[in-house]
């Protein structure tokens, strides 16, 4: 049995699995995330969210392959790849592996050092770029990521705290395909991370429980703790905060998102869509390369 306080409900194992699939199915339909016949590429980290997402999409009958990005975070990356590969093998599913150090000569810790930014920022921008490229190169129509309700509520909280209007406009469950970009979808937005973790335990999906060593103390985690403290007193607060943002605020912000899309050009190095001459990822590759030449 598992209780989901937000729904004032306790489910038995079978009903809980059904509940999770239903939440995902509703989101996929409501936001027209995947059209019939389209191929989906799922971004797999080896963690609970991405493996639960892959499992649910396969169970719902979608054609879904996985892609794992090796971030070069030493032991953590090797271990998480192991979980991803074991799931794929057990399920007979196809997993593509892109290793950033092997292909671009640097890992996330080096990139963070070279750019003097926090690891998660170098990591996030590399993921956005390389996952999209994997989708485009592999001929997939849709790139699906395992962002859950807690992730989205925490990002929303951060964006609101600083009134990042352009980020708020972009924070949508579906980003439509544009030239050079596959459609990006987040089918788990109606499941909390407690639910995705419980899903994996019940389905006996082994995932990496240990936290990425680079995550400690970042803002995102602090926002989650804050929101969970509110949730503890008011079950359902997180879902209301985020889902009402989608209902009430997103329509208001639609104009900002259109304007931004119109200003996108191409990176002169890699041809990826970019608002500046050289895209953020190519700049990162360049900086990481000079940094290692300097022998630091």
């Amino acid at each position: 049995m598992i209780e989901v306080r937000r729904h004032r409900a306790a489910f038995c194992a079978d009903c809980f699995l059904h509940h999770c699939r239903e939440q995902v199915r509703r989101v996929l339909e409501k936001f027209h995330m995947v059209e019939p016949g389209e191929r989906v590429l799922v971004a797999i980290s080896g963690g609970k969210d991405s493996l639960a997402l892959w499992d649910i999409l396969l169970d719902l009958g979608y054609v879904a392959d996985g892609v794992y990005l090796g971030l070069g975070i030493t032991d953590y990356s090797d271990t998480s790849l192991g979980f991803a590969q074991r799931y794929a093998d057990g399920r007979g599913a196809k997993l593509h592996v892109v290793d950033i150090p092997a292909e671009h000569g640097f890992g996330v810790p080096d990139a963070a050092k070279a750019t003097k930014r926090v690891p998660c920022s170098a990591c996030g921008l590399s993921k956005r770029h390389l996952l999209n490229r994997a989708a485009i190169d592999g001929g997939y129509d849709v790139l699906a990521t395992g962002h859950n309700l807690d992730d989205e509520a925490a990002v929303l909280f951060g964006n609101v705290m600083q009134w990042h209007v352009d980020y708020l406009a972009r924070q949508r469950p579906v980003l439509p395909a544009t030239p050079g970009f596959a459609r990006r979808v987040k089918p788990l937005i109606r499941l909390s991370e407690r639910e995705t973790a419980a899903y994996c335990v019940i389905r006996r999906i082994d995932y990496i429980v240990e936290e990425c060593p680079m995550a400690a103390g970042n803002k995102h985690l602090r926002y989650k703790e804050t929101l969970n403290a509110i949730e503890e007193r008011t079950p359902g607060a997180k879902a209301t905060f985020y889902l009402q943002f989608l209902n009430q605020m997103q329509p208001v912000l639609a104009g900002v998102a259109d304007e931004e899309r119109a200003s996108v050009g191409e990176c002169t190095r890699c041809g990826s869509p970019s608002t500046s001459e050289i895209c953020a990822f190519c700049k990162l590759v360049e900086r990481a390369a000079t940094d290692s030449l300097d022998g630091r």
Binding site: M1, A10, S121, I202
Partner: protein, 66 residues
Amino acid sequence: MRVHLHNPKRDLEVAGPLRVNELVKRLGLTREAVLVIRGDSLVMGDTQLADEDDVEIRPVISGGAR
């Protein structure tokens, strides 16, 4: 009972019997942030844990600005 914790990985001895919610509270954790697993199944907040139980408290919050 033996309690397995993560991040960092460690084991604790806690005297039972004790309800799950009480154990979670005593460890200074939030219900929303963990799952409690006995053997290989999830247990609910009002479940009474026995002194000879072996339980895992698994965090569900993952970090990283994604």
